[in-house]
Symmetry: C2
Subunit: 222 residues, 2 copies
């Protein structure tokens, strides 16, 4: 949201001074988010400070305050970006011609694959700290829900085609999402299980439990 | 641990004055844990205060400080009790003659069943706050691990008998445990899904994914 707010008035020329400023500003913003993600992975949310973030960027805190009001503000921007990206990927998966079962598999694959990205990893591990301002938590909750709603739709369509066993679709969706995300809370990059291992084992463990024994495999030929 | 530290010197007579004092002290201790659990369910760990706990007990904070040093101290006692109870239940399950598959099912049933108890619910929802003192977190982590180790043993024996599909046993155990616990993070008591619903659907969703297609059902006749 802050990006939209600040972009428009500056965009004046194709390669003009102001456009380059915006590029630089966006790049800087990404550096800040990434630096916070790295600090979060080590210290957790409560102990992380903007001093840590600035130290990791080898710059002064003023560089951060030029774009953000507080640690909470940077964190919200981080989760916002992670969620918007995940929502975009899931919308794309849900809009293909593939069967709901194949979509469900792709959705889980996508969660596993992106869980190791620094921003995603920080967002998953830290979840939504209770010390965040209330309105920030409500805003992030709404973004989480947007993702869950698309996922639930895929599950529901799977139930309609008979590929997914009939249960409360929201319950199935939330259990699948959270089961995948919970792996990233104890697994470590470079730990006993590689991304390949997780990518192979997680869908197998979780999907077998929700698919109907017969119909599913026939349908998308996997 | 505090209980043992304080018990022994007081126990002097069968129905003597001091024994009754201990009973009262233990009862009071339980009231404090329960009151914290109720506060945590509403406010989360960061916002909960010992003033809230005292207010809920309709007593002065001195009653709490008589047995505990701080909010963190009460929380550690709460999680300690929850984990020791869960470990005892799991040890009992693991020591029966039932097949590993039946033990796994019982272990998951037990997690689902106890997840709604006020102390367990608070412990699951709040998890292990990063603002807890470091040594408290290390101590609780060790208790968590004790539970996970017994669970992993059941999974490993299931793999040895062929009932459970062969994967990294610790990965399977942690994924199952966390998948169950994650349900309690979004489900609410009195919400759309009753304990009966959860008790029926969670094992079905999760166990189908880890059991081998053939061998399992034959083995314990379920």
């Amino acid at each position: 949201m802050p990006r939209t707010r600040n972009d428009t008035p500056f965009v004046t020329g194709m390669r003009g001074h102001r456009v380059r400023n915006i590029d630089k500003r966006i790049a800087r913003r990404q550096q800040i988010l990434l630096a916070l993600a790295e600090v979060l992975a080590v210290k957790g949310y409560e102990d992380a400070t903007l001093d840590d973030v600035a130290a990791r960027m080898n710059c002064s805190k003023a560089v951060i305050y030029y774009q953000f009001k507080s640690k909470a503000d940077v964190f919200v921007a981080l989760v916002e970006q992670v969620n918007r990206d995940a929502i975009a990927r899931l919308r794309e998966i849900a809009s293909t011609d593939a069967s709901p079962e194949a979509q469900l598999r792709a959705a889980i694959d996508s969660l596993v694959q992106f869980g190791w990205q620094p921003l995603d990893y920080a967002s998953i591990r830290v979840r939504r700290p209770s010390s965040l301002p209330r309105e920030a938590r409500i805003y992030l909750r709404a973004l989480d829900r947007e993702y869950e709603d698309i996922f639930t739709d895929i599950v529901r369509r799977g139930m309609d085609t008979g590929a997914v066993a009939r249960r409360n679709p929201r319950f199935v969706a939330l259990t699948l999402i959270n089961a995948v995300l919970s792996v990233f809370r104890w697994a470590r990059p470079g730990g006993a299980l590689s991304t390949d291992d997780l990518q192979r084992e997680i869908p197998a463990m979780l999907l077998n439990g929700v698919l109907t024994p017969g119909g599913s495999r026939a349908e998308d030929g996997r």
